[in-house]
Structure formats: structure tokens, C-alpha cells
């Protein structure tokens, strides 16, 4: 494995992301126009009883490895919880109802799975949800798990505010409305909004929705939303691994199917990046896309001047502007009833 990506390699991933998401996102925004009513600037501020702290939850494997959601539940954390869409199902199955759920990826039929897909049987066949480590509950018995998730989301939907990007597939919009969720819209900032011919400006001109920095992925968007719109401080990140635990088979990594199309099998390891995490004394590894996410997030904290509390207890996200803090300590200091056992 290599130890880093250079700037040219990062630029390739950034450009690939734009190419993959811009046009389809614009088309989705056109189709979503009729649903756009409230914006993220209309989101009611959390009740004062919740205090100033928040947890922004991504869906990385540490959620399961560290029993993060169970610990948040058992600690009776009183602060705001902002979840990425991929973490919603795991939250609800464990009795945690997030206050807000953020969704931003414009994929046409994967993202609705996080909300329970009423049309799962008619979707194109692929093994994405059987391989992914974001919500292992969906690795098997897909239809049965999907039906359970539909029921859970329907039961709790009216309590959840969805922070929904204009670019998401309209099936996600309709599913959220079907579940009784309230929607608050925003445009992802994808290029220079001061460029009148740019993609972001076109999105804004069409929708008139406010635009927000994404950080490249849904979990980062959740953290940015909690900081910038909800004005929470501090905001802890959990499940923000941006990488794979030591020993994870390459076949179980998110972009394996794409990498194996281009790399010879005996050189596949060269596509990955090994990263020693000094806070864990463990060497995790990541792929080019997650590495790009990591660089995006480091750029956000550096450029904003904000500090992020990373309570993931796993992964590759550390560096300037990132404080790695045990989750139990964050909850003790910022709003919860501490469980008896310390698990950090």
C-alpha cells in the first residue's frame, strides 16, 4: 500500500466526483422543484434544554465496532443528533431517533435504501448493500431488512427533520414525504458560486435554495450543518472512519469493484493507502475516495478555523483542527448521564 495520494491524484478524484454527480444532480433538482418549500435557513433552532453540543453521525464501521449508538442511547445524551442518511437505520433499530437526517448523494436508487425502499424488488441487481460496511444489517436478508426499515422510518419519520439537498433522487424526496418527515432544502456548493456560468450558480438560480459546503460526503455535510446552521458547539463526529479497520478484506471495501476493473489482481493493494493512527496506535487503510474525503474535511476545518471533536475511536481522520476525544468523555462533558463502564 502507498502512504499518501499526491495532489494530481486528489484532483482526479475531485474531478471524477464532479463528473459523476453534477449533471444528474441538476436533473434531480429540476424534478424536485415542486417539492421545495422550506430551506435549511428555516430550520427551527434546537430547544435550549438540549444544550449547545451536538453529535454528527456518519455511518462508518466504528459505529458497530465501538457500539457507538448503543452508548449514546445508554448515556441519555441530551444534545442534538444529526445523522447521515446511511446511519439512520442503525439508529432507529437501536432506539435512537436523530433530530435531523442529512442526505446529499444524487445516486438514483441506492440512497433511498437508507430510508427503506418500497420499490426494492424492481431495482437493478447489484451487491452494493451486501458488501458495504456502513449498515451491516443490510448485508443479508435484504428484502426482509428493507421491510423492517420501512416500518421503522414510517413510525419515527414525523419526528425527524430531513436536511435534503436539491440534487437527491426524487424517489428519496417522495419516500421522506411518505414517511411524514419534514424537508429542509439546500444546494450543494460544487464549484465557484461567483461564476455566473458555474454549476452552483445555475442550481441557485433555478431553485433559490441556500447553498452549503458539503465536505464531499454526507457525514461531513452533517457536521457542517450542525456547526453552520444549527450553530452547535462543540460538535462531535462519530462513525467518521473514512477508512477500513486493520484486516478488512479488500473485497469488502466500498470501491473494490471499480478498482479491480483497472488494477491487476496482484497489484491491487497498491490502490490503497495505509495510515498509522497515533491516537489508536493502529494502522488503518483507506482507498482514494475516502482519502479525498479526509483531505476535504481537513480543508474545511483549516479554512473555517473551526475545531472538530472526532469521537469515532477508529479510522483515518486526525490532524490539525481535529481533536480525537473518547466518546464517553465528550458525552460526560457536554450533556449526558454517563454509563457505568468506560469503553475507550
Amino acid at each position: 500500500m502507498k502512504s499518501a495520494l499526491n495532489q494530481a491524484e486528489l484532483s482526479l478524484v475531485a474531478q471524477a466526483t464532479f463528473n459523476k454527480t453534477a449533471n444528474i444532480g441538476f436533473k434531480h433538482a429540476q424534478e424536485n422543484l415542486g417539492y421545495m418549500d422550506k430551506t435549511i435557513l428555516d430550520v427551527p433552532k434546537p430547544d435550549a434544554s438540549k444544550g449547545p453540543a451536538a453529535i454528527a453521525m456518519s455511518a462508518g464501521p466504528s459505529l458497530h465496532r465501538r457500539r457507538t449508538i448503543e452508548r449514546i442511547r445508554d448515556s441519555a445524551f441530551k444534545g442534538v443528533i444529526v445523522a447521515a442518511d446511511g446511519a439512520l437505520g442503525h439508529c432507529l433499530r437501536n432506539g435512537v431517533v436523530p433530530d435531523y437526517v442529512v442526505t446529499v448523494d444524487p445516486h438514483p436508487y441506492w440512497i433511498i435504501r437508507w430510508f427503506g425502499d418500497p420499490d426494492l424488488r424492481s431495482r437493478p441487481e447489484d451487491d452494493y448493500f451486501r458488501r458495504q460496511d456502513l449498515d451491516p444489517a443490510l448485508n443479508s436478508r435484504e428484502q426482509e431488512r428493507n421491510d423492517e426499515l420501512i416500518e421503522l422510518v414510517n413510525a419515527h419519520g414525523p419526528k425527524i427533520k430531513v436536511i435534503i439537498a436539491t440534487c437527491v433522487a426524487p424517489n428519496v424526496t417522495r419516500r421522506c414525504l411518505q414517511a411524514g418527515m419534514s424537508l429542509y432544502w439546500w444546494n450543494p456548493i460544487c464549484d465557484d458560486y461567483d461564476d455566473p456560468a458555474g454549476h452552483t450558480r445555475r442550481l441557485y438560480d433555478m431553485t433559490k435554495m441556500p447553498c452549503m459546503v458539503t465536505g464531499g460526503n454526507c457525514g461531513a455535510s452533517a457536521w457542517i450543518f450542525a456547526k453552520a446552521i444549527l450553530e452547535r458547539d462543540p460538535v462531535a463526529m462519530v462513525g467518521m472512519d473514512l477508512g477500513y479497520a486493520p484486516g478488512t478484506p479488500l473485497q469488502k471495501t466500498q470501491y473494490y469493484h471499480e478498482l479491480i476493473k483497472f488494477y491487476p489482481v496482484d497489484r491491487l493493494e497498491q490502490a490503497y493507502i495505509a495510515m498509522y493512527n497515533p491516537h489508536l496506535n493502529e494502522t488503518w487503510f483507506t482507498d482514494p475516495t475516502y482519502y479525498w474525503y479526509r483531505q476535504c474535511f481537513l480543508d474545511v476545518v483549516r479554512q473555517s478555523g473551526w475545531t472538530a471533536q472526532n469521537c469515532t475511536e477508529g479510522g483515518t481522520l486526525f490532524g490539525d483542527g481535529i481533536e480525537c476525544v473518547p466518546l464517553d468523555r465528550f458525552i460526560t462533558e457536554h450533556g449526558g448521564v454517563q454509563p457505568t463502564a468506560t469503553q475507550c
Binding site: 446529499v104 447553498c211 456547526k227
Partner: protein
Amino acid sequence: MAKLIGNYKISGQPDERETESTVKKEDTVGDFERKAMARLGGSIAFVMKGKNVVWNGAPPKDGADKS
């Protein structure tokens, strides 16, 4: 003498990095890495301008944008 590969040379061994076959091989590596990364797009594009994380239609401060 056994053939060695890697980032070093042994006396009397030709520098394989200069041979045509190796140059092609290195080009190929770069090529397939480039092709792979061009397919590895993430969830959503990322751009951040200054310290601003939210933009709601305000014109640029220098007034250059007349749209």
C-alpha cells in the same frame, strides 16, 4: 547474479529503470491508476471559498459579478 527489483542497484546490474520494457510498465501503472481514479468519484463535489460555508445569493464583495 539473481535479478533484483526495487529501488536500488547492485554493482554490475543494468539499471532496469532505463530499459524500454520497464518504462512501458511504469507508464502502464500510471495509466491504469489514472483510469481507476477517474472512476472513483465520491458522493458529492466539494468546494469551499474563503471561510464561507453557506452562500445565499449574495454578489461577490468586489462587485465584479454583474449577473
